[in-house]
Structure formats: structure tokens, C-alpha cells
């Protein structure tokens, strides 16, 4: 096992354990902090796949901006563990079984597919090499071929800003 494989397994276990802790922790603030750990682990995977631009964007946008927004909202509402609404245990059990069934059936599909075709089973994702994830290549493609979606996404952001302000505004003449 070389260092890349060790890092892969370490980051995978870290991501899965922290994702479970997001579910299991009662305090919403702890959930947010565990979700930040998940995002760091996924950014580590991006760096292993040599997608450095996306790793940095993931850290800045998700772990930086979005999670701070979540923390602000949670602390604004003063939520804590004792005000956490609880479902009854049968609903929890049903939800877990439904998710587990999805996981088992999907894993079974993948497992059968690699038994059917040796070609599929031999596919590998290239680690540590390849320069398609670097900013030079991505920037060229983004501003040549995908410039119209890029501009449309700026319109989307403008509408999201306007929508957030309109929804979050206090109503003065509330009946």
C-alpha cells in the first residue's frame, strides 16, 4: 500500500464517520461542525484526484460560506439539544430501513456489473496525475465553450439574492 492508497482509505473513513455523526449528534451546532469535517475530507479526495481548483472552491464555498451561513442561522434561532423535535422510534426505524434498502440494492447493482464485464471492473480513476483539473485548462473551457451557462448562473445568483432578501425581510404591516 503506498501513501496515496492510505490517504484514500483514511479520507473515506473520515468522510463516512463524520457523515454518520451529522445524523447522530443531537445538537445542531455539532452537526454543522461534523459536516465541515465531511467537506474537508471530500476536498482531500479532490486533491488526490488532482482537481485542485475544485478542491479550493469546495473549501471556500462549502466549508467557508455555506457552513458559516448555517451556523449564523442556528445561533440566531438559539437552537439547542433540548429543543430538538423528536420523531417517534418507528418513523426512525422505517427511515433507516428505507435508506439501507437503497444502499444494498445499489451496491448489488455495481457488484453484479463488475462481475459481468471485466472491462468495467478494470476501470480506474487516475490519481495524482493529469492536468485537466488545473485552473488553466478549466478556465479556458469555462470561458470559451461554457460562457453562456456561466453568465446565466450570474443571473441565477442575482435572483437568489433578491429572493433571499424579499423572503427574509420583516413584514411591517402584518395582520
Amino acid at each position: 500500500m503506498n501513501i496515496t492508497q492510505i490517504l484514500f482509505w483514511f479520507l473515506s473513513v473520515l468522510a463516512l464517520v463524520s457523515a454518520l455523526m451529522v445524523l447522530l449528534s443531537k445538537n445542531p451546532v455539532h452537526s454543522v461542525l461534523w459536516l465541515i469535517v465531511v467537506f474537508f475530507a471530500i476536498s482531500g479526495h479532490y486533491i488526490l484526484l488532482n482537481a485542485q481548483f475544485l478542491a479550493i472552491v469546495n473549501l471556500i464555498v462549502y466549508a467557508g460560506a455555506i457552513m458559516v451561513l448555517f451556523l449564523f442561522v442556528i445561533m440566531l434561532m438559539n437552537l439547542s439539544a433540548d429543543t430538538e423535535p423528536q420523531k417517534n422510534v418507528w418513523m426512525k426505524l422505517a427511515g433507516t430501513i428505507a435508506g439501507g434498502c437503497f444502499l444494498i440494492s445499489a451496491c448489488n447493482v455495481i457488484y453484479n456489473a463488475q462481475n459481468v464485464s471485466k472491462e468495467i471492473a478494470a476501470k480506474t480513476a487516475l490519481l495524482n496525475q493529469g492536468n485537466i483539473g488545473l485552473i488553466g485548462n478549466l478556465g479556458k473551457v469555462l470561458f470559451k465553450d461554457y460562457v453562456v451557462p456561466f453568465e446565466i448562473s450570474s443571473v441565477l445568483f442575482l435572483s437568489a439574492i433578491v429572493g433571499a432578501v424579499v423572503i427574509g425581510k420583516k413584514e411591517k404591516n402584518k395582520v
Binding site: Q5, L23, I42, P85, K123, G130, F157
Partner: protein, 111 residues
């Protein structure tokens, strides 16, 4: 690294997100689990992008195959950021009106 490992990892993360949406009642944690599912899909898109690049590399050394997958991940992040801002505004408005973030209070839309 074989592509199956990435598929299994993404499936596990996605399923944890699904269980979170089904089990928790706190609207903010439901929202966070949706983010988790988006990230699982992003990881899978990126792994497939590098897999496609690896296959194309056998025939052409200067290939840029797989760039689109990485751009899709970028656009998913853009849409997720917009979605989070609007969604959190909705949750704040809900908390201001009914003083709770329990999603079961939303089963009736009126009053």
C-alpha cells in the same frame, strides 16, 4: 484507484443523506443532509471525469477529455450556493412565524 471504490463511497454518503432527510425533523439538519447528498454526487462526477480522462489518455497524450465533468461539479456548487441562501431565508421566515423549525408543523400550509 478502481472506480468501484468511489462508487461505493458516494453511494454510502448519499444513503446517509437519504436516511438523514427521512429520520430527522429539524429543518436545518434536513437541509444539511441535502448538501451531503449533493457532495456525494459531486465526488462521483469528479471520479468519473478522471476515469474518462484515464481511458482517453491511452490513445492521445494531449487529451482534455473529462473537463466537462469538472465543470458540471463547478456549476452544481454554484446552484447549491444559490439554493442555500434562499432555503435558509425560508427557514428563518418559518421560525419567525411558528417559532419552531420542526418540519411536521408544515403539514398544513394555511395558518
Amino acid at each position: 484507484m478502481p472506480i468501484q471504490y468511489y462508487i461505493y463511497l458516494s453511494l454510502a454518503l448519499f444513503s446517509i443523506g437519504i436516511v438523514g432527510v427521512l429520520v430527522r425533523r429539524n429543518a436545518i439538519i434536513v437541509f444539511m443532509c441535502i448538501e451531503l447528498m449533493l457532495n456525494a454526487v459531486n465526488l462521483l462526477l469528479l471520479a468519473f471525469s478522471k476515469m474518462h480522462y484515464n481511458t482517453a489518455l491511452l490513445t492521445n497524450k494531449e487529451t482534455t477529455a473529462g473537463t466537462e465533468g469538472q465543470l458540471f461539479v463547478f456549476f452544481i456548487m454554484v446552484v447549491a450556493a444559490a439554493e442555500v441562501s434562499v432555503g435558509l431565508a425560508i427557514i428563518v421566515m418559518m421560525y419567525r412565524n411558528i417559532h419552531s423549525v420542526d418540519v411536521n408543523f408544515l403539514n398544513r400550509l394555511k395558518n
